[in-house]
Symmetry: C2
Subunit: 463 residues, 2 copies
């Protein structure tokens, strides 16, 4: 009938054949303790050294600057903590972009709850920080600044080199989270600390990278441990490390051609979805972006229902909609961008995705979205003029996308110049009602809190 298309490489990529092969070989050759003097230990040490050289070459650093960690999250946590501790005498101020991975933002919260201060640099509607904003956040007591190479949810490439120059001028080390981009190439020079994650490039789970440039003040946190330059405690996960390094090299060898091919496929999705589906906002930078990733949001659509419907059609995608998160809040990235979060879909193509799978996705998507919209009773199009000039819609207790659907249903019932007030206690409404106004060229007046919780969101009909 139809195939299965896994379109969530940005969460975890399927294991690359080279990774699998290297892992199998290293299971036989690399299970012993590389710290031991006997033959099995020496063999393990040789494998570990070779993997470190390979990975360092791909990262663009010296082998002795690179430590392997158990995950990208741990690399970020230890990288942030290590520089904060090493530069404690400078100060306890941390700069992060508002769209960093949650591992960085959680490390920032940890600092804040421990008495440090954090500045979050905002992004534009494409999800990009400006180098000026980033530079402006640096202070005399800034211990560290963090900026991702590219965003994991919307694919926007950040100005890492400009940020690094600003940081260098201010004498502040820059940590670059390169988890999403390392498959495609090294990060531009200028970073002080870099983190990566092997299962994002087709390596195995269980391996992260933490590179710390010589000269950066770094004090590993927690109990001492002699492994990995003291930066990541515990027995090395050697077979997985070997597989991670081998697959990074293999992926890089294909990156040029494969990146161009996937960039074209993603370009096709970016161009087609608004036409095929309607009432869609494609988010993220259309040009300065990762080759394989695109995110869009569909008005009047429940993200979880859409995910399940796509899953039934054989497509695995992720979503930043509030209804797909355990906390019922929209993705912090979409919030920081101020874009629509309802009916959100992230497509991230693994290496080798055939164009026929993208064709099938584009063929299936319109019907899937239409059926989800129909189930929710979404409005078809803007209606006539109507009577009362002020309407109140009580959407309290209703979850995304229902508040926006209720608003869209009645906007045609007030005359141009009239207002609709939507009462809602759904977190996503704060983001999605203004985003709907922007998409529909209506005026978003503002919100005011309700005594019993939630808020009143007021919209003025303009067209």
């Amino acid at each position: 009938m139809f195939g299965v298309s896994y379109f969530d490489a940005a969460s975890s990529a399927p294991l690359h054949p080279v990774a699998r092969q290297a892992l199998l070989a290293a299971l036989d050759e690399g299970w012993a303790d590389p710290a031991r003097l006997y033959r099995e230990g020496r063999r393990a040490r040789l494998l570990l050294d070779a993997a470190r050289e390979t990975a360092a070459e791909a990262v663009g650093c010296r082998p002795d600057e690179l430590s392997f960690t158990p995950s990208g999250t741990v690399a970020l946590h230890r990288g942030v903590a290590g520089v904060l501790a090493g530069r404690r005498r400078v100060g306890r101020h941390l700069v992060v972009s508002a769209v960093e991975h949650s591992a960085v933002l959680h490390a920032a919260e940890s600092l804040a709850s421990d008495g440090g201060t954090v500045t979050e640099v905002g992004v534009d509607r494409l999800g990009r920080v400006t180098a000026d904003d980033f530079a402006g956040a640096l202070r005399a007591d800034t211990a560290l600044a963090c900026l991702q190479s590219a965003n994991h949810e919307v694919g926007t490439v950040q100005p890492a080199a400009e940020a690094a120059a600003a940081c260098a001028a201010a004498g502040v080390p820059l940590l670059v989270d390169a988890a999403q981009s390392l498959a495609w190439g090294p990060v531009d020079a200028g970073w002080s600390v870099l983190a990566g994650s092997a299962h994002k490039w087709g390596g195995p789970a269980g391996v992260g990278l933490l590179a710390v440039r010589k000269g950066v003040r770094f004090a590993a946190s927690g109990p001492v441990d002699e492994r990995e330059s003291g930066r990541s405690p515990g027995f090395e996960n050697l077979p997985a490390i070997v597989a991670a390094a081998a697959s990074l090299r293999a992926v890089r060898a294909e990156a040029g051609a494969e990146g161009a091919r996937l960039r074209e496929l993603v370009g096709r999705i970016r161009a087609s979805v608004p036409e095929l589906v309607g009432d869609v906002e494609v988010v993220g930078d259309p040009v300065r972006r990762l080759p394989h990733l695109v995110t869009f949001s569909c008005l009047y659509v429940d993200g979880e229902a859409l995910l399940h419907a796509l899953d039934r059609e054989g497509f695995s995608v992720s979503s930043g909609s509030s209804c797909t998160s355990s906390t019922l809040t929209p993705s912090h990235v979409l919030r920081a961008m101020g874009v629509l979060s309802e009916g959100n879909v992230r497509v991230s193509l693994p290496l080798g995705t055939p164009s026929s799978e993208v064709d099938r996705f584009l063929a299936v998507l319109p019907g899937v979205v239409a059926s989800v919209r129909a189930e929710l009773g979404a409005p078809a199009a803007s209606a006539g003029s109507g009577g009362a000039s002020e309407l109140v819609v009580d959407a309290l207790g209703k979850r995304c996308p229902l508040p926006v659907i209720e608003l869209a249903k009645v906007i045609g019932d007030v005359p141009v110049g009239g207002t609709v007030a939507v009462l809602s206690d759904d977190e996503a409404a704060r983001l999605d009602i203004p985003a709907w106004c922007e998409m529909r060229s209506q005026e978003y007046v503002g919100e005011s809190p309700l005594p019993g919780g939630g808020a009143e969101f007021v919209v003025r009909r303009v067209v």
Copy 2:
């Protein structure tokens, strides 16, 4: 000519065939993010849940009490930190045995350097704490007590159940490091927190276990993360977790028969080595011990030279001698026991070790030790009576085992009742000269510091 015998299972065991098989299957089925809603994610979640149930059954806890960590070291670090933080209001006192794994002792140092206090409970000459000593160390402000199930260097089984009873009476949680014993069976009930390490039982590297009983106050340290009950951040290393759980079950199924068989082989080594080699101290409890592990020390032998000589003969063993450590200090376990550290060898047999390999080890060892001793000019046997009643031997600048060899060479030169003073600045001398006196029934008088560094160790000839 001869085979290769890997006798260092206590460092890292070769991968169990069941682990290899499970890992291969899970590489295909379990690479996706178990937190995702689509089919690949749901499949990964099922594998993770099943692995947790299997591991929890082997540990003897509820699945929701068990978290997977990237290593045994990380399990210990996070286990100690989590209870210390959770019970901070009780106090900041930590009790550990003096022979815990370095990961526990480093966590203790970390607490001490952060203003907490630590009590190290000493051990007897067999490496065992008494439940009374352990109970006596508990105070009103004790947040946590740590005791291994069995020692990793000498195999001595600790009185974990009695310690747990004492802790329960005092209202103090007990953390049991079960890394060395988990292959052989669950730890007796009564523990509050338990840690393990998969590559010690034939599972893959990259997986540790951290079990925390319901009701234990536990506050995970560091940035928050939603995975593994918030106790171990980062993407789960799922294929390795699946392999770890499957191999633990498989190993347990063989534990009864294989434990009895290895116990007999180790018993043979314990009995034969002193006879075959001479001037040997077999250390650790002869009865209450791990089945597969034995440690002995050879007088007048350089541990590193012995390791290399055994390696050339095809035997991979480890050593707690000072000359094999980067810090030139003897193992903290041997020091705490007060036993000889020179020429130290730990043999730990992997599952399935054929008795013929042990036979070959016992056949090869005497010649290897003799040649190492000959190279060092070790004394053959005690000599005549001699002249001066007080001799001074200057061994300053000489490393283990040379100070003891110099002592042994001249003890026969003083009359019974006379003394030999050994001048030495080697850390191991403090342990090995008293240990030699004990083995040789000579009287150790004591040490006094030298003005230029090092010390004078005085021995009185008795026999």
